[in-house]
């Protein structure tokens, strides 16, 4: 046990998409079919923009987590999700390239269970305890749900990231316990688009109410901490009052039960235990005991204690900041279109072949995935893309450029348009010339943009997004886009 106190969470971050779908809009459309949906019509859920997926959200959560921190020390990257865009291509590899982590970093995808992130977190903490850290644990989810399903209203899209290792932790690991039981509350078979779900009452009685208490009993056996000492109990569950019931039965205070963010976010699948953990860390004081549970074919329970380093963590957006970066969406039709749940007439301009030349993508991955440009050693000019000949008309030196990362450099709009001719899944399509603060510029797609936030001189922040999806070949190609930064808080 003494050993376990040496590892913990060094930093945390989160990402929630800016769009919030009003549940009322969904229920109003679908209640004719299932009047029961009206009961779920309160509040809003996070909703990916058309160019967001678990990979892009994972990158943003990781960037948030790594705010103000040198990325060079990271030894390992784990990416948990049950909705990975690639079944055979290392999704964590895309995240790694986007974060410009070294190729020596060990990266892996963790999937196939709603508790993939908590199981990954347990493994990461154990590895870090053995000296293999720091480990970046990222979880991200965008669950695909049928129109008019309860799940459509219960879920949300989002991501969270934790850096775990030895050293000054904001929360140290106190104890953990896991159980594995082949309890199939829902599943998604190979080749199937959607989940198949069993009865809620059975899931509650035979699932949560039996499996979680057993794991908690094991956990409390392994520590001096008493259930009554728990300040934050973070357990995702869309079924009402289940988490509160388990907490009460275990002897935790009622006040410890953390809100599952249903009203403002929805359940972000495998990412949700970490999203709730980050939410708890944002509220915790040094000394607070935080218990997080992930449920799915068993459960993981991890107990942390917040330390004196928690208030000293560099500023970041986290769950709170990204919840505040919000745009309400009341058009359910847009949600259906973004998620390809309706056959929408996209027009002939959408017909263009989007095949990705993989050899060129690989050769240019530092530029395209890492958003690395160049800086001229002779004149200092920053430029994107990096080129063989310096673009400064007063220099034009050959072979003079070093890599220069642009992803975290603030930029401003020089010119822009809102284009209704070009094909966009979300017209009008905003793009324009942005100029980086320390030099360099690029004509680039905008994202999360609208008339209220884009203008000449408007501040922009780069975000990792889907550039194209190739429906003929199932390939998602990513690149960076400029997003309005004015309302984005600290990063």
């Amino acid at each position: 046990m003494a050993e376990e106190k040496d590892v913990g969470i060094l930093a945390y971050g989160a990402y929630l998409p800016r769009l919030r779908l009003a549940r009322k809009a969904v229920a109003e459309t679908n209640a004719w079919f299932n009047p029961g949906l009206k009961g779920l019509a309160k509040g809003e859920r996070t909703m990916c923009n058309w160019d967001e997926d678990p990979v892009t959200m994972a990158v943003e959560a990781a960037r948030d987590c790594l705010s103000g921190r040198d990325r060079g020390a990271i030894a390992s990257l784990s990416f948990a999700s049950t909705t990975l865009p690639f079944e055979d291509r290392l999704n964590a590899g895309i995240v790694l390239e986007a974060l410009n982590l070294a190729p020596s970093v060990n990266a892996q995808d963790l999937t196939a269970s709603q508790r993939a992130a908590t199981s990954g977190l347990v493994a990461a903490l154990q590895m870090a305890r053995g000296g293999a850290g720091p480990i970046l644990m990222v979880a991200s989810e965008k669950r695909r749900t049928k129109s008019a399903s309860p799940l459509e209203l219960q879920t949300g899209d989002g991501a969270a990231a934790l850096l775990v290792g030895t050293g000054p932790a904001v929360a140290k690991l106190v104890a953990h316990a896991s159980r594995t039981v082949d309890f199939v509350d829902h599943y998604r078979g190979e080749g199937f688009e959607f989940d198949y779900t069993w009865e809620e009452r059975w899931i509650r009685d035979e699932g949560y109410n039996k499996i979680v208490p057993a794991a908690l009993a094991d956990l409390f056996k392994a520590t001096d901490v008493k259930p009554a000492d728990i300040a934050h109990f973070a357990m995702p569950c869309v079924l009402p009052r289940v988490a509160a019931g388990i907490a009460k039965k275990a002897g935790m205070p009622d006040t410890a039960v953390r809100d599952n963010l249903h009203a403002v976010c929805g359940e972000t699948g495998a990412a949700h235990p970490l999203v709730m953990l980050v939410d708890a860390l944002e509220r915790a004081k040094p000394g607070d005991k935080i218990l997080v549970v992930g449920f799915g074919q068993g459960c993981d329970a991890l107990l942390f204690e917040a330390t004196e380093h928690l208030p000293k963590l560099a500023p970041r957006l986290g769950v709170k900041g990204y919840l505040a970066r919000r745009k309400e969406e009341t058009n359910y039709g847009k949600f259906l279109a973004f998620n390809d749940l309706v056959a929408i007439e996209r027009g002939m301009r959408a017909d263009v072949d989007k095949q990705t030349p993989l050899s060129s993508l690989y050769r240019n991955r530092r530029m395209l995935t890492g958003f690395i440009g160049g800086q001229c050693r002779k004149c200092g000019t920053l430029q994107f893309p990096k080129s063989k000949v310096c673009v400064n008309p007063n220099c034009n030196a050959f072979h003079s450029q070093d890599d220069h990362p642009f992803a975290d450099t603030p930029a401003k709009v020089q010119s822009y348009t809102a284009d209704r001719l070009t094909y966009s899944p979300d017209p009008p399509h905003y793009y324009g010339m942005i100029v980086f603060e320390q030099g360099g510029r690029v004509m680039i797609d905008f994202t999360d943009a609208d008339a209220a936030t884009v203008d000449v001189a408007a501040p922009m922040r780069m975000m990792f997004r889907i550039k194209e999806y190739d429906p003929q070949r199932g390939f998602t190609r990513y690149f960076w886009k400029a997003a309005p930064a004015a309302r984005q808080g600290t990063t």
Partner: protein, 401 residues
């Protein structure tokens, strides 16, 4: 020291097809239509042509690659035929090839022909097309109107112009071009429009509305060029000669270096200066009588007037609204209706501009003929995007003047 092209090459004959939605015609029909007018005008036989240049930009759209489509369409007698492509300035590139061939002495008589058959895409606007493996992965998903629309945002910011003033000047440009196109039977669009029509039209790419954009058409235009001496020997009087022919190509500075503010065309400024020098023009606002610019969008025409050093910097809105460029103004611009009314069959457009200057110089422009026969006419053919483009400028005048 290069001596330039001034007065070394004469235009022997020109032709231009009817531009428009030529649903019943293939590209070779259009090529023949333009060529038959040009060869009759030149008064020569086809087999006197010693070399030819074909301009077509989007070959996958219709015409196909290489010089073969032109050679086959006209059954040229196994002479050299070169296909050129330089974005939307391709037409002037073909002309440049033919003119340089004659100037170098490599050919006595050369043909330049531009053609594009755009109306087989199934939709309005230019076709969507590939941009190259790497470019497609990082360029924005932009359209032509979307990239040119950005001139407006940058121009307004730089010169502190109100959006409504700029919009009104842009509308004036389109109304003026439609007035001119109304007098041109070869134009695609011959209807007159009002300022209100322009201002109330649906938005294409902010702030460009439908009537700020040129049409998309099928068409072809061609020129037969020779030396002034041969032109004289063939009985030509009032020989129309090339005074200057300049091309400037972006090298990435605008796209990647912060010295460009987005409100003007760096290439046009370079090419026009060089062209004036080559033609011996030092006061363009006073010396040029007629201008055909690449008015793909109203805002392009507006800023180009400054890039050609005709309007003072920041002064184009005033000139436009004062009617300086109207048909009865000091320097009519787009007297034939421009891209606005002809549409933009890419390979043909540059040659179509020269065709109008050529007609006006000879007093053959019918109801739109200038009272005072022009001395210098300028064409401006632009391709690409404001931040990365090619600009071709020609100055046409009478030989020896």
């Amino acid at each position: 020291m290069a001596t330039g092209i001034r007065d070394k090459v004469a235009i022997l004959g020109m032709g231009c097809s009817k531009f428009g939605e030529r649903w019943d015609k293939e590209a070779d029909d259009l090529m023949v239509e333009a060529f038959e007018e040009a060869i009759a005008d030149a008064g020569i036989e086809k087999n006197q042509i010693e070399a030819a240049w074909l301009a077509t930009a989007i070959e996958e759209q219709h015409v196909g690659k290489s010089g073969v489509p032109l050679a086959v369409a006209l059954r040229l007698p196994y002479i050299p035929v070169t296909r050129v492509e330089n974005y939307c300035a391709s037409g002037t590139e073909a002309f440049r090839g033919a003119v340089y061939a004659v100037a170098s002495g490599a050919a006595d008589i050369a043909l330049a022909l531009g053609v594009e058959k755009l109306k087989d895409t199934g939709y309005g606007g230019l076709p969507q097309r590939g941009r190259g493996a790497l470019n497609s992965m990082y360029w924005p998903n932009m359209s032509a109107p979307g990239s040119f629309a950005q001139l407006a945002a940058a121009y307004r910011a730089k010169h502190h112009k109100k959006p409504e003033d700029l919009k009104r000047a842009m509308a004036h440009i389109s109304v003026k071009s439609h007035d001119n196109g109304n007098r041109n039977p070869k134009a695609h669009l011959t209807n007159k429009i009002t300022i209100e029509t322009v201002l109330e039209a649906p938005t294409v790419a902010e702030p460009l509305g439908l009537y700020d954009c040129c049409g998309v058409s099928d068409g072809s235009a061609c020129a037969i060029v020779t030396t002034p001496e041969i032109a004289k020997s063939l009985g030509k009087k009032d020989i129309i000669a090339v005074k200057a022919l300049q091309l400037s190509v972006s090298n990435g500075t605008e796209a990647s270096h912060n010295s460009w503010d987005g409100s003007y065309f760096a290439t046009t400024r370079v090419a026009s200066k060089r062209a004036y020098k080559e033609a011996g023009i030092d006061k363009p606002r006073e010396q040029i009588d007629l201008i055909e610019v690449h008015d793909c969008f109203s805002v392009t025409e507006l800023v180009t007037m400054e890039d050609l050093y005709v309007s003072p910097e920041g002064g184009a809105i005033k000139d436009v609204l004062d009617g300086f460029y109207d048909a009865d103004g000091q320097i009519p611009c787009q007297i034939d209706g421009g891209l606005k009314c002809f549409g933009h069959p890419i390979g043909a457009s540059g040659m179509r501009m020269i065709y109008e200057i050529y007609l006006q110089m000879q007093g053959k422009a019918g109801p739109r003929q200038r009272q005072k026969t022009p001395r210098y006419g300028l064409t401006h053919n632009l391709g690409g995007f404001p931040h990365q483009n090619v600009c071709s400028i020609s100055v046409i005048g009478r030989h020896g003047e």
